[in-house]
């Protein structure tokens, strides 16, 4: 069990570092989601299932959805926009 916990902890640190280093905002949100999921597993291992449920629902679910909507609003994940910009740069 301890090996599993250490693996999860290592994954957590990897996620936390790569969220801030990732250049694509969409990728960093996805990594953040997996961070929350791993965190909820760690909460279960630490014997606090209440927190685990809350973390999975709020951290991995609702917060990431709000991030997605914000990104869509600021046109950070609009593919057509990006392509247009790309064409303009090529011109």
């Amino acid at each position: 069990m301890t090996v599993f916990t250490y693996m999860l902890m290592g994954f957590l640190v990897c996620c936390a570092v790569s969220v801030s280093l990732s250049k694509n905002l969409l990728n960093s949100i996805l990594i953040y989601m997996s961070y929350s999921l791993v965190m909820s597993i760690i909460w279960v291992i630490l014997e606090s299932p209440d927190l685990a449920i809350t973390e999975a629902a709020v951290g991995a679910g609702v917060t990431s959805i709000l991030f997605f909507v914000t990104l869509k609003k600021i046109h950070a994940i609009d593919e057509r926009e990006k392509r247009k910009k790309h064409e303009q740069e090529e011109d």
Binding site: P49, D50, A52, I53, G61, I65, L66, T70
Partner: protein
């Protein structure tokens, strides 16, 4: 009867000339003035250099880009002061850490009688099998009340910040066939709903009932097992958001509008306030609490915790959904 004029006849009338003058359609200089196309402006190197010099001189005059000696000293001092300040801050924080009580000593402030009392007498005093639930909704109910209100205030703030303009909303709802301007479409992206994605709708059909029933289970089972109002409410809110994404705003508006949100939040929060005021009042005055505790482990037990859990769950579910709707299109 009016007689229809031909175009050439009309061109000779005064009205034609007047309107042509009014609309400035006539080019008076066409075919009368000799015109040369303008030569493109080519900058010589001398010109560029002069322009740069002038710009630099202007910037120097305005912002003092060329630093004088005193400004340079001030900047050096600023950097030094920053470093010193950060050092002092780090030193203070580390000093505070060193004053913390050591880990694992018997007389730490954490090891007071409160936690022991929670563990030993919590079941008798609150009637909740789940000690955490008994703590947050009975011993520390005031904290939870504050948290629910924080959520509510956060939604109200988002409502104020992201609310779409009322006039625009009316216009867009009046003429559905109208071509929307880009700005309007950005504010109110309900016009492209529903997208009718078959995979998403099938997944939602299967998942949403299960998610919402699980949320209700988590809320109702809060005093018996892990869970409670906040987590259950968040699960229900996530299920509602999934349903909304699959089927569009028109379907959700049948059961969830701004009015629903207002009354559910208001009702739950005021119920929480009144119920907890009653128990605070009886507790402070050493009166008998008429709400029965029930047998621990039964679904209808632990006094006020179950209704409070339901109230918190309703507030949280509505708030999560309202956040999403507000972010999507700024209003219900």
């Amino acid at each position: 009867m009016s007689r229809k004029k031909t175009e050439q006849e009309y061109r000779k009338t005064f009205a034609f000339r007047f309107f042509r003058w009014l609309n400035a359609e006539e080019d008076r200089y066409l075919d009368k003035v000799e015109m040369h196309p303008q030569e493109p402006y080519v900058e010589t190197e001398e010109d560029i250099r002069r322009r740069q010099r002038e710009k630099n001189a202007l910037l120097n005059k305005l912002y003092g880009r060329k630093k004088s000696k005193s400004v340079r000293y001030l900047e050096l001092f600023y950097k030094g002061a920053c470093i010193v300040f950060c050092g002092i801050l780090i030193y203070l924080l580390l000093l505070t850490v060193s004053y913390l009580p050591p880990i694992g000593v018997a007389d730490r402030p954490v090891n007071n009688e409160v936690s022991r009392r929670y563990i030993e007498e919590g079941l008798d005093e609150t009637g909740a099998v789940n000690i955490v639930s008994g703590m947050i909704l009975d011993y520390r109910a005031f904290d939870t009340l504050g948290e629910s209100h924080v959520l509510f205030v956060a939604t109200v703030t988002v409502l104020i910040l992201l609310r779409a303009d009322h006039k625009k909303k009316e216009r867009s709802s009046a003429g559905e066939e109208m071509a929307y301007s880009l700005e309007e479409a950005e504010i109110n992206d309900r016009n492209y709903e529903p997208k009718n994605d078959a995979i998403l709708q099938m997944a939602a059909c299967i998942l949403v009932p299960i998610i919402i029933i699980f949320g209700i289970y988590v809320i109702l089972n809060g005093h018996l097992g892990p869970g409670g109002g906040f987590s259950g409410g968040a699960i229900i809110g996530a299920g509602l958001i999934l349903y909304l994404n699959a089927f569009g705003f028109q379907k959700t508006q049948r059961f969830f509008t701004e009015k629903t949100y207002k009354w559910v939040s208001f009702g739950s929060l005021s119920f929480y306030c009144i119920a907890k005021s009653y128990s605070f009042y009886t507790g402070a005055n050493h009166l008998e609490n008429i709400i029965p505790k029930g047998t621990p482990g039964a679904i209808l037990s632990s006094g006020l915790i179950l209704p409070l859990n339901i109230a918190v769950g309703l507030v949280v579910a509505c708030t999560m959904y309202a956040f999403y709707v507000m972010f999507r299109k700024g209003g219900f």
